[in-house]
């Protein structure tokens, strides 16, 4: 008996990011059952994600419990900065990968205190790849620092179209920079008309109370939905 070669076409129709989306949905469910609001922070390197988290830690201290998952290619530096503010932090070092994936969060999650109110995930500094990976977050927050320039939303559309919030950081530098806040806002809203925009500074504290009020309101909403 010989072998005959047969050609066959197989229709697959499978989402290449399907596995990641499935794990992200499981994480989101787990967090909701515990009443935890998760926020995924995206930005280019140096936009001020860790500085923003340090300020959030200081301001949330008296009214809520939070934890942070830090994503970086190498080093434990960011987690150490967060721990110095009295907040538990886990560092994921991706060893070269340019983004966090849901399975990395799933690995860390069992160690996270189930009684916290907020879980902040600081993604790897990169305005491109992290936008394609859901991590189980309820809110995706993209940061744009004023020194980067007001043209970034149009240049990196996916990070802005998939986010819920845009936090403009380093507003204290505005007097020294040609950054046009209105242009950045308008162009970001063209990409995503539902985007909530906050103009902030980790140095002067500008806009941080408004941002925290928003996170707090979202947390209350999550709790009332899953009470």
């Amino acid at each position: 008996m010989g072998l005959r070669m047969n050609k066959k076409e197989v229709i697959v129709l499978q989402d290449l990011l399907g596995t990641n989306k499935k794990i992200a949905a499981e994480i989101r469910g787990q967090l909701e059952r515990r009443g935890i609001l998760a926020v995924n922070l995206l930005s280019s390197p140096g936009a001020g994600k860790t500085a923003l988290l340090e300020q959030i830690a200081l301001r949330l201290k008296t009214r809520a419990k939070m934890a942070v998952i830090e994503g970086d290619i190498e080093t434990e530096l960011d987690a150490e900065r967060i721990r110095a503010k009295g907040v538990p932090a886990w560092q994921i070092t991706t060893g070269g990968a340019c983004h966090l994936e849901a399975k990395m969060i799933a690995k860390v999650l069992p160690g996270v205190d189930p009684d916290i109110d907020f879980l902040f995930i600081e993604n790897v500094g990169n305005l491109v790849c992290p936008a394609s990976y859901e991590l189980g977050e309820h809110l995706r927050c993209v940061l744009l620092s004023t020194p980067e320039g007001d043209d970034k939303p149009k240049k990196y559309p996916k990070a802005f179209t998939t986010s819920d919030l845009l936090v403009l950081t380093k507003a204290d530098l505005l007097p020294h920079l040609p950054f046009d806040v209105e242009k950045a806002k308008t162009e970001a809203l063209e990409l995503n008309p539902k985007l909530k925009i906050f103009v902030t500074s980790a140095v002067t504290g500008q806009g941080l109370d408004e941002l925290l009020d928003y996170f707090w309101a979202m947390h209350q909403e999550l709790q009332s939905c899953h009470a």
Binding site: G2, L3, R4, M5, K7, K8, V10, V12, L16, S132
Partner: protein, 120 residues
């Protein structure tokens, strides 16, 4: 550059499908890549070429269909293609839109060569 990580998960699926169908070779892989999928087709191609060496997809042809971004306006019902990333209805200006296509990143189909015992 997360294309490599996407191609790595693509190969997981490809090898699984080939096993399921008892295939000795994969000859064609067809992907659908939306304009807003966040991946660059050229980089997917390079990653695919790197990955396929020494696998049953070594001689496979990778076909990528790029899918334009299309929306339907919830206010006036008009369907338009978005080319400049401005998410307002081209007809009435409403921002209340439903994305119809353009975010997908799909393995659509594959072609396999299957070894079957021939009838005597």
């Amino acid at each position: 550059m997360h294309e490599l990580s996407i191609v790595s998960s693509l190969f997981g699926t490809l090898l699984e499908k080939a096993r399921e169908h008892n295939a000795g070779k994969i000859t064609l892989v067809k992907l659908k890549v939306g304009k807003l999928s966040g991946v660059v087709p050229e980089l997917l191609e390079s990653a695919f070429d790197m990955y396929k060496k020494g696998t049953i997809a070594e001689n496979a042809c990778l076909e990528i269909e790029e899918v334009p971004l299309k929306i339907r306006c919830r206010a006036c019902g008009k369907e338009t293609e978005i080319t400049n990333y401005t998410f307002f209805c081209g007809s009435c200006g409403s921002p209340d839109l439903e994305i119809l296509q353009g975010t997908e990143l799909f393995l659509e189909k594959i072609e396999l060569e299957i070894d079957e015992p021939s009838s005597p």
